[in-house]
């Protein structure tokens, strides 16, 4: 973007960006590298990183794609907080420096790239798909009123950006914890009027590493850029799970 560079030089303001670097085939542990870049009103942290990659240092690695806060690729730690780099503006950190690190609580693959394989496994465990008893769906749609849609809509907004896992102190201590996004997505299906799979998901959700691990710190909901409120999803499920447990003591267990 030639024009944007022109504009940047017009204002002449600059900001220092300290970026965590780690190349496992070269360095035994992460170090920081500082770059000075133009400080532009409309530049997100991601635009700054792109400026570095395109103009200053092609070896810097990070993930990004949509640049509009929906693909979930560019989660990073910016001045200590988990953020989407495309939706976090450099001017918020003026006069700088801005410190950009990989998301916390994940193994670092390279520079700002973390390994999210653990989440991908956990996502399958909660069975995030519609489960129903009937063999064949109807010819038309399952009816679902706007109110029924509203019951789960919030939890369907998760973009899998991993900011909640990065913010979660429990996940930081215990990697087996199912974690905020996976539980929120399980609830997204549990609360969907078309779904009958809550019992199938219960084992994963109520297990040792499920909702009971959460001590309701609430950092996940603060970090979430999409207002999903995973902490709320977890609390709500705890209530469900507790009720189910009591019921299982009181009632004879029949065929589901």
């Amino acid at each position: 973007m030639d024009r944007s560079r022109e504009l940047a030089s017009e204002t002449g303001r600059r900001i220092a960006v300290q970026v965590a670097r780690y190349r496992p085939d070269r360095e035994s542990e992460p170090t920081f590298q500082e770059y000075e870049i133009p400080l532009r009103k409309d530049w997100a942290v991601l635009d700054g990183l792109n400026h570095i990659k395109d103009e200053l240092d092609g070896t810097l690695s990070y993930r990004w794609s949509c640049r509009m806060g929906i693909c979930g690729s560019c989660g990073m730690t910016v001045n200590g907080e988990p953020k989407l780099a495309c939706a976090t503006f450099l001017t918020e950190y003026a006069p700088g420096p801005v410190r950009v690190e990989p998301l916390r609580n994940f193994p670092v693959v390279r520079d700002l790239v973390v390994d999210i394989g653990d989440f991908m496994q956990k996502l399958s465990v909660v069975q995030p798909w519609i489960i129903r008893e009937d063999e064949e769906p109807p010819d038309g749609e399952y009816l679902q009123t706007p109110e029924e849609l509203a019951d789960y809509k919030q939890f369907s907004m998760c973009i899998n950006c991993m900011l909640c896992y990065s913010a979660c102190p429990i996940y930081g201590l215990n990697e087996h914890f199912l974690g905020p996004a996976a539980i929120a997505l399980a609830q997204r299906y549990n609360l969907d009027s078309r779904d009958e799979g809550a019992a199938d998901r219960m084992e994963a959700l109520s297990s040792q590493t499920g909702v009971w691990d959460c001590t309701y710190v609430g950092e996940c909901s603060v970090a979430c850029p999409k207002g999903v409120d995973p902490a709320g999803a977890i609390q709500r499920y705890k209530l469900t799970a507790a009720t189910e447990t009591i019921k299982s003591f009181l009632m004879p267990r029949g065929r589901r």
């Binding site: 944007s4 190349r23 794609s65 790239v113």
Partner: protein
């Protein structure tokens, strides 16, 4: 090391995921895998906003959806393909519903629909204005149920292996390790999406670099109608972020610097307070983008640091409608422009959005290369002709993703075992050659040359200048010369990063090579089409010419790297070419 699959799908977006499920449902014994350069849920389907068209209401008809699509495409659509598309779209959309897609609803629980540009009836299903996001995540999460579907997440395909005119597999790099591997397959389905990053201002994500188109083209698969590039009339000026057509469908106005609804001056109807189907702001995207250029030439647009803009005015729609039906529009404007559309007008300009052209396929997604299929934006069936209607691309990737999956499964099942055991010695040798090429020419490259970003940025500027909304022989020739020069410069561009681990500079170099090939096919096809039709507007040939060009441009790569273009006729079934009429 070599692994083998029956069906290998390149690309894990909407089309790829739908194809994978179709393969498994057709024959659960088949070994199917998806190889994608990003995790599936990062795919660009995620950015689609406004909706997905399929006939669902009693007052609508399949034929009307077909007619809107064909006239919208300026009669360059193959009508047998359009008929298959409009017939199967409702069934596919209902499957998405059964899989849990959170479609917006009427108060009684039925699917809600909204108007959309170029559509004569209200038939666009939507999930607020994050339709692509919900569609992709529904498909991805549903795909997890099918444990048969293997995935290569974050693997970049560099080459299609083709032997005696039939596909044998791919060579791919695993990003996390830098490992280069040959993956053989009996059938390959390309689902890699479009190539908007060939242009400087685009709604397309960083990953839209025309990979599948370039892979097919280099492997002998012709590309079809590459000159037809869609500009979406309403992108945000700096970022190119899309402001969905749904904003106009819900009643938004386009205003010039005098606050005048200028579309009335371009044969698009007369302004009414509310939205009118196939009229004014609900005209087709090509005509609206062209009207913008004319307004700019008249000096009636607004100048900004990022070029001329007009205003999209939603203020009269009110906070309630904006918050319930267009929440993402508001979120994007607040986050990226610091503008609240409830109180302020949104600056917009046309930005490159969609590729009508692509890998040439039949109505089953099959390419002329045996065993090679394509579906979604990477493909050109063609249902979109010279201009795609908004909300036709999401149902397209479902219908043709499913069709390609079924066709690939049948192909694998129907052939004798001996003939396509996949891992032939010749295919493996090709794979080994490609590995050496990558090691030597790309990873072994010296530093000190010019930057990849320099070449990319010069390509993008040349394309906007030479292959933009209005084109001329002179400007296109300049653009073609520039692209040739950049092709010569590319092999000596620097790759400073010598690491094997997640080397994104290496990937950027390979993507740029793909883009340059695709840019050349766009310009070459545009130079040869001496008429104006849909999104291809020539100031030196301003009229549509059905005598010469009611035909597809089919561009082939010759052995020496040069191109040749053929003109197979358009398939006409029931709708003879006519005038495109909007607003009257």
């Amino acid at each position: 090391m070599t692994t083998t699959h029956d069906v290998l799908i390149v690309g894990g977006g909407g089309a790829g995921l739908r194809a994978a499920i179709a393969v498994v449902e057709a024959d659960p014994r088949l070994n199917v895998a998806i190889v994608s350069k990003v995790y599936p849920m990062r795919s660009h389907t995620v950015s689609a906003e406004g909706g997905a068209a399929a006939v669902i209401r009693a007052e609508d008809s399949i034929d009307e959806h077909a007619y809107d699509t064909i006239s919208g495409g300026d009669w360059l659509c193959d009508q047998d393909a359009v008929e298959a598309f409009v017939n199967e779209a409702p069934k596919e959309m209902l499957r998405l519903e059964h899989w849990g897609c959170p479609w917006s609803r009427e108060p009684d629980g039925h699917i809600a629909v909204r108007p959309f540009g170029g559509m004569k009836r209200i038939r666009t299903w939507f999930a607020a204005d994050k339709t692509g996001f919900h569609l992709l995540h529904t498909l991805f999460q549903t795909s997890l149920k099918y444990q048969e579907i293997a995935r290569y997440d974050e693997w970049f395909v560099t080459k299609l292996l083709v032997e005696d005119g039939r596909v044998r597999g791919v060579v791919a790099i695993e990003l996390s390790s830098g490992r280069i591997e040959t993956i053989t397959a009996k059938a390959v389905i390309l689902c890699t999406g479009g190539c908007g990053k060939v242009f400087p201002y685009t709604t397309n994500a960083q990953i839209k670099t025309g990979d599948g188109m370039a892979l097919a083209y280099r492997a002998g698969g012709p590309l079809k109608d590459m000159e037809f590039v869609q500009y979406h009339p309403t992108g945000l000026p700096f970022t190119g972020i899309l402001i969905t057509e749904a904003a106009r469908a819900e009643g938004g106005w386009l205003l010039n610097k005098d606050g005048y609804r200028y579309l009335q001056d371009y044969d698009l109807g007369t302004p009414q307070p509310g939205p009118v189907l196939r009229s004014m702001e609900l005209g087709p995207r090509d005509r609206l983008s062209q009207a913008f250029v004319k307004e700019m030439e008249k000096g009636r647009t607004i100048d900004t640091p990022y070029g001329a803009v007009v205003h999209l005015d939603l203020r009269h729609l009110g906070a309630k409608l904006i918050n319930t039906k267009l929440p993402m529009v508001r979120e994007l404007c607040l986050d990226y422009e610091n503008i609240d559309p409830i109180k302020e007008m949104i600056p917009v300009r046309p930005v490159v959005h969609y590729m009508m052209g692509g890998v040439s396929t039949d109505i089953h997604g099959a390419t002329p290369v045996e065993g090679l299929y394509a579906a979604g934006e990477v493909a050109c069936v063609s249902i979109n002709g010279a201009n795609r209607l908004g909300s036709n691309s999401l149902p397209e990737l479902l219908v043709f993703g499913a069709r390609a999956g079924v066709a690939a499964a049948e192909f694998v099942a129907g052939e004798s075992e001996g003939r396509h055991s996949g891992a032939t010695a010749l295919a493996l040798a090709q794979g080994e050659d490609e590995r050496r090429r990558l090691e030597r020419d790309v990873l072994g490259r010296e530093g000190g040359g010019e930057r990849i970003a320099t070449i990319r940025s010069e390509m993008q500027s040349a394309m906007e200048q030479g292959a933009g909304i209005y084109r001329s022989a002179e400007e296109m020739a300049k653009c073609a010369d520039k692209l040739r020069e950049l092709q010569e410069r590319l092999p000596s561009a620097s790759i400073d990063d010598q690491s094997r681990t997640f080397n994104t500079e290496l990937i950027a170099a390979l993507e740029l090579a793909h883009m340059l090939d695709i840019a050349e096919t766009i310009v070459h096809s545009a130079q040869n089409r001496e008429e104006s039709r849909g999104a291809h507007q020539r100031i030196d040939f301003p009229k549509r010419d059905d005598e010469r060009f009611l035909a597809h441009s089919l561009i082939h790569r010759n052995a020496d790297g040069s191109a040749r273009v053929e003109y197979p006729p358009v398939t006409i079934t029931r709708w003879p070419p006519g005038e495109r009429v909007y607003g009257r």
